[in-house]
Amino acid sequence: MKKNKINGYLLAGLILFGIFLVMMIIGLFYTPYSPTAMSSAEKFQGPSAAHLFGTDNFGRDIFSRALKGGITTFGIALATIAIGAAAGTLIGAVTGYFGGIVDDVLMRLNDALTAFPSFLLALVIISIVGPGKKYNVILALGIVFIPSFARVMRTAFASLRDVNYITSAKLMGAGSPRILFVHMLPNTVHTLLPALTIGFNNAVLAEASMSFLGIGVTPPDASLGYMLSEAQSMFGRAPWYALCTGMMIVLLVFGVGLIGEGLQRQSREVA
């Protein structure tokens, strides 16, 4: 099969994600209005040419806020999976490769953390770091995401442990870190990549849920999740608020989901 052909899912995903990305890049440099500027004369305006997504309860332009919120959400999700994947891969590598007592202990802890309500776990971490800062949410979500990455990566590393070329590398006297990160890590990419896209999406949704439960980002530093939870309380008055922010989230998650799907198919076809 042709190696360089991009499949339809990947393409569609990249287009959707591209739209989101372009909006964010614009949002970095320019928003139609200041995302925090309020106006009592322009409260609860429906979508129009002046306000693409309408305005909220403070008369703020939802489109401008969504552009900035998109950046926040994207940043949080990216940082979350960066933490989750880095720590998870490390733990997965160590436990999967060495096994034994380290594996037993870490996996018990992993099980316990998985079984622990993530909401409470996030709250504990936020409390330790000090509540009310954006970085807390990132750190909290990142730590919440470690166990699932660790589990996936452990399986990937364990399956490579007894593969021929690893055994020969060992015989040739390669050190454990070298084996783990030079020989094994590149071969776990086909596990890590889909895990990353799924993790990214879960991070976006988790951030939204946390906001809904009241422990997310602090205003006026809106994220899409925070905006959506805010929009719910005024759904009857301003349904466009919830719909527009909801759709932004769906656009992002849908796009990344399709990219993940496409990548998976691509790698399957290549294989």
């Binding site: 316990a112 998985t114 079984a115 409470l120 709250l123 409390s127 999406n201 719910q232």
Partner: protein, 317 residues
């Protein structure tokens, strides 16, 4: 049998870690239960008094061990906030959440298994595109967003249920209560249906591409027979594992949806008890939820061992 004992041991270890983590969480989290109970009425003397009354002036490990001992003797303690026994507080909530989780599970299984097999059959062309699109879309919508749309659409506009008016499972309106739970259960189910279909589709396709299936068919075996005897049977193990994991996740997912639908289940109680710093209640709920997760995992393994006896030889995990 040895493996069963080992498995039980591992479960207990996990649960102990969870219970300890939950206890430790409160040592780390900001906010003092006595202070929360007394609010702005608190004076240093009354705080001292309250801490003593709640037993918070004892050392951390003493409290934990006392709690653990109580747990094994069936005494979950008394809620700081409600002043009633924790068990009497959470028992009706567990019932509600369990009921919702079961409805959700039935919906997931009823839709995703046929849909997943169908999607595997039609994985190419337009229908493949459609199913992949739907799956990704289903996974992209946050449950609480669906929740608010459903309460609005089905509740206010269509009047199929009354948002906010959950009558209770033992009241005269138990049927209304179940209906209420059904709509909430659907919101929890949607993303998980999408995930299950996706998993099932790729499993079935993967299985059908195996050489033995191709060989069997090329040898002229009945296609349907091969499909039912081999493909479906071999897809069963990952499916059961996945569904068990889903069952475990449903309870976690109920936290948000219970808030949206105003359902008095354990998720809502957990969130409120955390913000009230009502530790005995949180402690009990966390352990019960963790037990649920561990139970689901164990159940999956047991079922899978029945399906595929080879797994029994594996021993450990």
């Amino acid at each position: 049998m040895k493996s069963a004992a080992k498995r039980a041991g591992l479960c207990i270890v996990t649960m102990l870690i969870v219970s300890f983590l939950a206890y430790a969480a409160f040592a780390l989290i900001s906010g003092d239960p006595a202070q929360t109970l007394l609010g702005t009425d608190a004076t240093p003397e009354r705080l001292e008094q309250m801490r003593h009354q709640l037993g918070l002036d004892q050392p951390f490990m003493v409290r934990y061990l006392k709690w653990l001992l109580g747990f094994f003797t069936g005494d979950l303690g008394i809620s700081y906030s409600y002043r009633q026994t924790v068990w009497s507080l959470i028992a009706p909530k567990i019932e509600v959440t369990l009921c919702m989780a079961l409805i959700s599970f039935v919906v997931i299984v009823a839709i995703s298994i046929p849909a997943g097999i169908l999607a595997a059959q039609r994985s190419n062309g337009k229908s493949g595109l459609l199913s992949t699109g739907l799956i990704q879309l289903g996974m992209a919508v946050p449950p609480f967003f669906t929740g608010i749309l459903v309460s609005w659409g089905c509740g206010i506009v269509m009047k199929w249920f009354t948002p906010g008016d959950f009558p209770g499972l033992h009241s005269a309106k138990a049927a209304t209560a179940l209906r209420h739970l059904f709509f909430a259960a659907v919101c929890i189910a949607i993303p998980r249906i999408a995930m299950t279909v996706r998993m099932l589709r790729s499993t079935v396709i993967g299985e059908m591409n195996r050489s033995y299936v191709r060989t069997a068919i090329s040898r002229g075996n009945d296609r349907r027979g091969v499909f039912l005897r081999h493909v479906l049977k071999n897809s069963l193990v990952p499916t059961v594992t996945f569904l068990a994991q889903t069952m475990a996740e449903i309870v976690g997912g109920s936290i948000v949806v219970e808030q949206v639908f105003g359902i008095p289940g354990i998720g809502r109680l957990l969130v409120a008890s955390i913000s009230n710093r009502d530790y005995p209640v949180v402690q009990a709920l966390v352990v019960i939820m963790a037990f649920w997760v561990v139970l689901a995992g164990t159940a999956a393994d047991l079922i899978n061992q029945r399906i595929d006896p080879r797994l029994r030889l594996g021993g450990g995990e």
